[in-house]
């Protein structure tokens, strides 16, 4: 059980380039999240998904896109990289059900450090 995995661990992009940050979880969690963490700050929610085919914006969605075609995968796409997107990106997942016990806690991946020059 690997938990939440993210690739790549590090990446340097030039302004205007695009890339996809990959996130996979093997815990059969229905909810998945993308956060960014700027230096000295807490985590800010970019996008989240409550199940395959369903995504929604968080606090800071501008400049990003997501998709959720399977339960396991939740990639984050940067279309036109800007220096303001230099940050550490975390993917997380959790399990929720309307009836019965839910974990509620979020399980995090190890993060991707992205630098845009």
């Amino acid at each position: 059980n690997a938990g939440v995995t993210q690739t790549p661990k590090f990446r340097i992009l030039k302004i205007g380039q695009s890339m996809t940050l990959q996130c996979t979880q093997d815990m059969n969690h229905n909810y998945m999240y993308w956060y960014r963490q700027d230096p000295g700050m807490g985590l800010k929610l970019i996008y989240y998904s409550v199940g395959a085919g369903i995504t929604d914006k968080g606090e800071v969605p501008n400049g990003y896109n997501v998709s959720r075609s399977t339960t396991e995968d939740f990639p984050l796409r940067l279309e036109l990289a800007a220096p303001s997107q230099t940050s550490v990106y975390f993917c997380a997942s959790s399990y929720y059900q309307r009836q019965g016990a839910s974990l509620n806690e979020q399980f995090f991946g190890p993060g991707t450090r992205l630098t845009v020059l």
Binding site: Y33, M41, N104
Partner: protein, 115 residues
Amino acid sequence: AQTVTQSQPEMSVQEAETVTLSCTYDTSENNYYLFWYKQPPSRQMILVIRQEAYKQQNATENRFSVNFQKAAKSFSLKISDSQLGDTAMYFCAFMKPRTGNQFYFGTGTSLTVIP
């Protein structure tokens, strides 16, 4: 949006001593969850402890305990018998059980345990 405030950017404590990290939050919700996460230099986010707002009893996990004051909207973390491995950033987080179960994080407290 909910706001979570951690007013202590940095703290230090002697090994084996006790330290308390503070957290306050602002919400109009009555049902919610609160969490403390630890982020060591490895960057991995690790759950330390959680509290359901409808439970009056303060949560404890071994050396970690919370002081949850619902009326004051305060959720402090107490670490007893501090160990060198407790050196990390600590984030307080608020979650309301609505669509998406979104988390709102504070800006963190950097804790250093001094040998």
